[in-house]
Assembly symmetry: C2
Homo-oligomer: 171 residues x 2
């Protein structure tokens, strides 16, 4: 099962850091790829740099005709929004045997996103953060398993430590 | 049981949006208060505005002598860091009958934070986001319950909806 994240409404002038966090969460919580609607080579570079250092596979593309991408998606489309149906119920319905595209918007999302998606899902109906929504969705959807994913080909690895830091160089 | 979040290393020029997301996550996932190390009235205002509109209680203070605050904390101190011990194991050890202070840093955290904390906990040992780490920690720690918290005194409420938006005015 492939999981891809589509980040909509990215404004390179304002959203660099939030979109970078969305991308890092996508990678750390087991997604295969992030697609960013607007071209932003800096965010691409930052995410690719983390993948080079900490391992992959994880892919980034930016500047994508996203409506086409969603329409052509061969699988399930989930849109994370505070207005959507409850996470608990939705998560049981989302098929596990199909590829999954998860749409994560910035502040406002075009109306048709609600129609293009198979499920509009709320990680709580309170305002918080697309970064948090994506993390909790992937954590719950994988029943806590994705966070333990092993990455390949990185240069460094962090070992869990009760106090201080243990960084292992693999080169 | 009181849960408070201490946000360290906030740089008002760079971190407004990330710290705001940390604060919104704190509120939405059931914490009672966020303490921001550096004074930032704008972030305070944004968070208080959400509490006015969507309900509380939730408290914000910024510009706090944080080492004193941690030392005087009467309860457990958890520091979220990618270098820490594994979430699964840690979460079973953290007492449920004591107040909880959760420290969330920005990019680099002073060394003594590791010593001042009872538990240094990694929400995965991969780089991602303090926003995501806090959300997943609170979601797991509350066994998914905090996200269903009811807030009081707000002006609007969002009802879960499969397509579109349902916003109820309570005024």
């Amino acid at each position: 099962m492939v999981i891809e994240i589509l980040r909509l409404g990215h404004r390179p002038s304002r959203d660099k850091r939030i979109t970078t966090h969305v991308g890092l969460v996508a990678r750390a919580f087991g997604a295969d790829k992030i697609i960013i609607s607007e071209k932003d080579r800096k965010v691409e570079d930052t995410l690719n740099d983390v993948t080079t250092r900490f391992g992959g596979p994880f892919h980034v593309v930016s500047g994508v005709k996203w409506r086409n991408y969603v329409r052509k998606w061969n699988g399930t489309v989930v849109h994370l929004t505070m207005y959507g149906e409850k996470l608990d119920g939705a998560i049981k319905k989302i098929p596990r045997d199909q590829d999954l595209l998860i749409i994560v918007g910035a502040e406002k999302v075009p109306k048709d996103v609600y129609e293009l998606s198979d499920y509009n899902v709320a990680v709580g109906n309170q305002p918080h953060s697309e970064v948090a929504a994506l993390a909790v969705f992937l954590d719950r959807f994988s029943a806590s398993k994705n966070l333990a994913k092993k990455f390949k080909g990185g240069k460094i690895e962090i070992k869990p430590t009760k106090r201080g830091k243990t960084v292992i160089s693999k080169e």
